[in-house]
């Protein structure tokens, strides 16, 4: 072997070693590539997940939370109910991402999730709905963390936890701080009127075909964000059924008068465009509604964006609550 040939070989070896070392040191800066992991507490147990995941699949309530938190999403479930509350940027991201599941957990497309090659799957569906998902099958593809709500007002902690799992807390916390400042400002604005009222709320999930309506109490979908402004929805469910049934119930339309006779004012859920959904319209068209003291006094308030489950969406709800309750400031 000549000296020149030996030196070329040594140079090539040195370059190879340098490349390998360089790649390794670059990977060490990001947890996923380095294989750095941590143990994360989720609904489905203590799960080992990448410290900094690079390819995240999100479903259910995790979709808007991780869109807002700028998580590295590669696939999401459909989340039609959240579309009116998304910013144009989040909407563009939503439209551009592969849909790996439909609106319901039962519509999970396991093949599509496999094709997305995720290194983390965040399932944001309520605990009872988890039974519709084949978690074992998903775990064969990537670590799965299930973080779903039981009580509607839990979106605050859960969306933060979802963002934490996806390694996107910094962006999330900035939005949360903005929300809290806005809620505090509105609470001050309504401090003289809102906390003194006994409020009732008609929710949008009643079932006309069963002749019932949805009454929501503190901590429910239609009430929890208004509570941050100082609203108090009096009473509690007759029978606690667990989860959302701890904070909302579905009485017969015949019980409308007894449900709201004591209410000083009543709010009700409307769609993002202001239209009244059929379950609420059923209540508004009832003669029993028209004879309620709060209705006769003109103290009824339609509230939009009650489905908000992220801080950015909830800021829209705060605006809607402000708009709805504004007449209280000018009696």
């Amino acid at each position: 072997m000549s000296i020149a040939r030996t030196s070329r070989l040594a140079g090539a070896l040195a370059l190879a070693v340098a490349l390998v070392t360089g790649c390794a040191s670059g990977g060490a800066e990001t947890g996923a590539a380095s294989g750095e992991t941590r143990v994360f507490a989720a609904d489905n147990g203590q799960i080992t997940i990448p410290v900094s995941p690079k390819r995240v699949v999100a479903t259910g309530y995790a979709v808007p939370a991780l869109l807002e938190a700028n998580a590295p999403l590669v696939g999401i479930s459909s989340w039609q109910r959240g579309l009116p509350m998304m910013t144009p940027e989040d909407r563009a991201k939503y439209d551009g991402l592969a849909k790996v599941a439909g609106e319901s957990a039962a519509e999970t497309n396991y093949e599509a999730i496999a094709q997305a090659e995720p290194d983390l799957i965040v399932i944001g569906v309520p605990k009872p709905v988890l039974a519709d998902i084949d978690i074992k099958r998903l775990e064969a593809l990537a670590p799965v963390v299930a973080i779903g709500p039981s009580v509607p007002s839990m979106w605050r902690e859960l969306s933060r936890k979802q963002a934490d799992a996806a390694g996107s807390l910094a962006s999330f916390d900035a939005t949360r701080d903005e929300y809290e400042a806005k809620a505090k400002q509105l609470a001050g604005k309504y401090a003289g009127v809102l906390p003194q009222l006994k409020l009732g709320h008609v929710g949008g999930y009643g079932e006309v075909a069963k002749g019932n309506f949805q009454r929501e109490f503190n901590g429910s979908w239609g009430t929890n964000i208004a509570q941050d402004v100082g609203a108090n929805y009096y009473g509690q469910v007759k029978v606690k059924g667990g989860g959302s049934k701890d904070v909302s119930e579905y009485p017969s339309i015949e019980e409308l008068a007894s449900a709201f006779t004591e209410a000083d004012a009543i709010s009700y859920t409307v769609a993002a465009d202001g239209s009244v959904p059929p379950p609420v319209q059923y209540v508004l068209d009832s003669e029993l509604w028209k004879n309620l003291p709060a209705v006769k006094a003109g103290k009824t308030f339609p509230i939009r964006y009650t489905e908000a489950a992220t801080y950015r969406a909830a800021m829209k709800t705060l605006d809607a609550v402000d708009q709805a309750f504004a007449p209280l400031l000018n009696p």
Binding site: K210, G211, I253, E254, S258, N291
Partner: protein, 332 residues
């Protein structure tokens, strides 16, 4: 002659007694529900009423319309059941075997898939579906009662299968259908009901003259011809009435299958084998059964209502078994 008059008098007495019972149950039903109302308050609500009194509003605006619907749908299903059993000479037949109910359900599935929904849309779709299915069944199976039932059953299976496929493909369609498919009188008090109620009125009036002709047809085609009945015309008119009555009842309350099967058996115990009498008893016993079931649907669960079709199935099953065991299958 004397015996026939005596029988006729007994049946008249029974029919009047059944009518009185119907009125009593209807009034009782005004007081029973998630929100109990005392009998005195019910009577005050019915005769005068105070628009500011929540109890009176419940009686007048929720339970009274609901009772009308129960009476109309019960009468329609009862009479349709009598007609279909007489036409097909099959004691297990009910209006659904002619494809009426599956036609309504299929039309709703297709309509909702195409974006048509809402109470009025469902009402129109169910009537249109019932009419189309009945027309198809009649065009294929008009030659004989057996062929009619077989065609209706075959069409029911086909429409049910295709409809199920469509619903499984689209969860939103499935969601609308699952509420419609469990017959209920709840939440219907505000829906536009004038048209189906009028249709039921026309159907019930039309059933009386047709039932006399059907009496002859029930004896067999040869005897019917001998008695001067036009079998084809009677069969067509009967099928049209069954479609009208069952389609309108389905439009009002969704599919409530058991009433149409059970009421003719109960009516036969009171009205004998005469089709006109069976129609009369069917028109009264159907509402009684549906009113009682609807009262039960309001109070069985502490957390909400049970759809009335589930109650009729639970009540109807044992009653039917009891009737068959006690009396045996009465001749049709």
């Amino acid at each position: 002659m004397t015996v026939r008059l005596r029988e006729s008098g007994t049946r008249s007495g029974l029919l009047i007694a059944a009518l009185v019972l119907l009125v009593v149950i209807a009034v009782l039903s005004f007081g029973v529900g998630a929100h109990g109302i005392a009998p005195g308050e019910v009577l005050r609500a019915l005769f005068g009423g105070d628009t500011a009194n929540p109890d009176h509003l419940v009686v007048r605006d929720v339970r009274l319309p609901r009772a009308y619907l129960a009476i109309a749908a019960g009468a329609a299903l009862g009479v349709a059941g009598v007609l279909v059993q007489a036409l097909s000479r099959n004691p297990l037949a009910e209006p659904g075997v002619l494809g009426v109910t599956s036609g309504a359900g299929f039309a709703i599935t297709v309509g909702v898939s195409l974006g048509l929904s809402g109470p009025f849309g469902e009402l129109v779709l169910s009537v249109a579906g019932a009419l189309l299915a009945a027309a198809l069944v009649y065009s294929v199976g008009r030659q004989s009662p057996l062929r009619l039932v077989l065609t209706g059953t075959a069409l029911t299976f086909v429409l049910t299968g295709v409809g199920l496929g469509l619903r499984l493909l689209d969860p939103e369609v499935f969601d609308v259908y699952r509420f419609w498919s469990i017959g209920s009188l709840a939440g219907r008090e505000q829906a536009p009901m004038a048209l189906p109620l009028a249709a039921i009125g026309v159907g019930l009036l039309g059933a009386l003259p047709v039932s006399r002709q059907l009496n002859a047809v029930a004896l067999g085609e040869t005897v019917a011809h001998t008695l001067g009945a036009n079998v084809a015309r009677v069969r067509f008119a009967t099928l049209a009435l069954i479609t009208l009555l069952a389609g309108a009842a389905t439009a009002i309350a969704g599919p409530i299958l058991f009433v149409g099967l059970m009421v003719p058996h109960l009516a036969r115990r009171l009205g004998g084998g005469s089709v006109p009498w069976l129609v009369g008893f069917g028109a009264v016993l159907g509402p009684i059964l549906l009113l009682l079931s609807d009262m039960g649907s309001r109070v069985l669960l502490p957390t909400g209502e049970v759809p009335v079709a589930i109650v009729t199935a639970f009540v109807g099953g044992p009653v039917l078994i009891w009737a068959v065991r006690k009396y045996g299958a009465a001749p049709l």
